[in-house]
């Protein structure tokens, strides 16, 4: 069995935390530029230009895009033929601590939700582990800001609500969120599974690159329709009015129980941050 060093995991996670916070994805930058061409509102164009300048400053000076450097959400795809020497979850947390401290990233995690204090190093991370075939360790760090996370929701719908019910729930969620999640947003939608799994699906959907459609043409069409309807709401960048309310909508689906129809919306701000490495 292949062996991977503990420190290699620490160093990789530390680097990914910094890179995700400094370097906005090329897909998001392209989406800002595309939106600029279509925007009719002068205020919206002004804001999109600021976001482009901001991404450029962050990239060249290696400083965070946003002062909210997020909860460190980590997707871990662990090959069944690889062994990490030492505890991998401990290594990931050590990497988060190192990355947030050495990278001058803001620490936003409170140790206990009710009685706690700031942990001082942005740990613990939220780690989603998947055992997959192969002998590699794939790590994705997706820092998640608080403002947009707060505009997310899970709803246990009725199977009779169908796809139209899903669409209306997504549109209603975006409308109610208005200016709060720092639009233009990216919308992750989970459909199916169970109460807890549907939220994970919505989060996982946010890892896709802007413009990447669902492989099933049915859901790809629903994504296109939802994006169009959201952008017709007029909310616009920062909620000040315009054509660009969301940059994209991504759907992830899973088999469901005959009695259940869980749907989740996970809202991401325009700082759609995620970086991946394979060890």
């Amino acid at each position: 069995m292949r062996e991977v060093d503990y420190n290699q995991v620490v160093e990789t996670v530390s680097r990914l935390c910094m890179e995700a916070n400094y370097f906005l994805g090329g897909d998001v930058v392209k989406a800002f530029n595309d939106a600029l061409k279509k925007e009719e509102s002068e205020t919206a164009k002004n804001i999109l230009n600021q976001l482009l300048q901001n991404a450029e400053i962050s990239r060249t000076e290696k400083i965070p895009i946003c002062q909210d450097c997020g909860f460190a959400v980590v997707f871990l795809e662990l090959g069944e033929d690889v062994h990490v020497k030492g505890n991998i979850i401990k290594a990931i947390n050590e990497g988060v601590s190192k990355g947030y401290t050495e990278g001058f990233l803001r620490k936003s995690i409170v140790s206990d939700p009710v009685k706690g204090k700031n942990t001082g190093d942005n740990t613990p991370a939220i780690v989603h582990t998947m055992i997959v075939p192969g002998d590699t360790v794939k790590i994705t760090v997706a820092p998640k800001g608080g403002g947009s996370e707060n505009m997310s929701e899970v709803k246990m719908m009725k199977p009779a609500d169908g796809i139209e019910g899903v669409k209306n729930f997504v549109i209603d969620r975006v409308q109610r969120s208005s200016s709060n999640p720092c639009p233009p947003t990216v919308i992750g939608v989970g459909i199916g599974g169970t109460f807890e799994y549907v939220a994970f699906l919505a989060k996982k959907a946010l890892l896709r690159d802007i413009g990447q459609r669902h492989p099933d043409p049915f859901y790809a069409d629903v994504e296109r329709e939802l994006l169009q309807r959201i952008n017709n709401l007029g909310i616009g960048p920062m909620g000040l009015g315009g054509r660009t309310t969301s940059l994209d909508v991504f759907i992830e689906v899973h088999p469901r129980h005959i009695a259940s129809f869980p749907v989740a919306v996970n809202t991401n701000c325009h700082a759609a941050r995620h970086k991946t490495a394979v060890i």
Binding site: N54, R106, S178, C182, N232, G241, G242
Partner: protein, 185 residues
């Protein structure tokens, strides 16, 4: 794009009355910072009728909790936080003479009514443009509540700090009007 208006902070009443929703504005001068914890303390003092540790009369407060500054920088990325969390304290601040606020997101009806009554403006900064905004901050000084760390009240010297007038002193609300204008049925 229309040329931005340049204003000097603290604001004059004359400048405030000239600002209209949708105006793109560049602020140069001195502004204060304050967010959740500082507002709570100021509010509690004001309710007891005690003097505040910093005079907010005529001032602008920026709702911000910056990231740490790395070497060679005077402040870390410093974008606006959600203003709505300050809504419960804001009418009292306006009553005490606060004239401007910088943040992101919609304000409550109580805040909008108080702004109209006391002739104040609410300016939207771009959430998530934190690295860009930090470039327009030229000096930083803690003026109260140092124990609050990133939430301490600071005086910022800013130059061409970019904002958009979201709520003016005449009752205009860009969140409502802007969204209505671009909505398609």
């Amino acid at each position: 794009m229309a040329e931005p208006k340049r204003i000097t902070a603290p604001l004059s009443d004359d400048d405030i009355m000239k600002l209209k929703i949708g105006d793109s504005v560049l602020i140069t001068g001195k502004i204060l910072t304050g967010r959740d914890a500082a507002h709570k303390r100021l509010f509690e003092l004001a309710q007891k009728g005690e003097a505040l540790p910093v005079d907010i009369k005529g001032q602008i407060i920026y709702y911000v909790g910056p990231a740490p500054a790395k070497q060679g920088y005077i402040i870390g990325p410093a974008g606006p936080t959600t203003s709505g969390r300050m809504d419960p304290y804001t009418p009292k601040m306006l009553e005490l003479g606060l004239k401007g606020m910088i943040g992101k997101g919609v304000r409550s009806k109580e805040v909008r009514d108080a702004m109209k009554k006391h002739k104040a403006v609410y300016l939207a900064a771009t959430g998530g443009a934190a690295a860009l905004i930090a470039k327009n901050i030229k000096a930083v000084k803690i003026v109260a509540y140092e124990d609050l760390g990133p939430e301490a009240i600071r005086e910022l010297e800013v130059e061409d700090f970019p904002v958009i007038v979201a709520n003016d002193a005449h009752g205009g609300d860009l969140y409502e009007e802007g969204q209505k204008k671009y909505r398609k049925e």
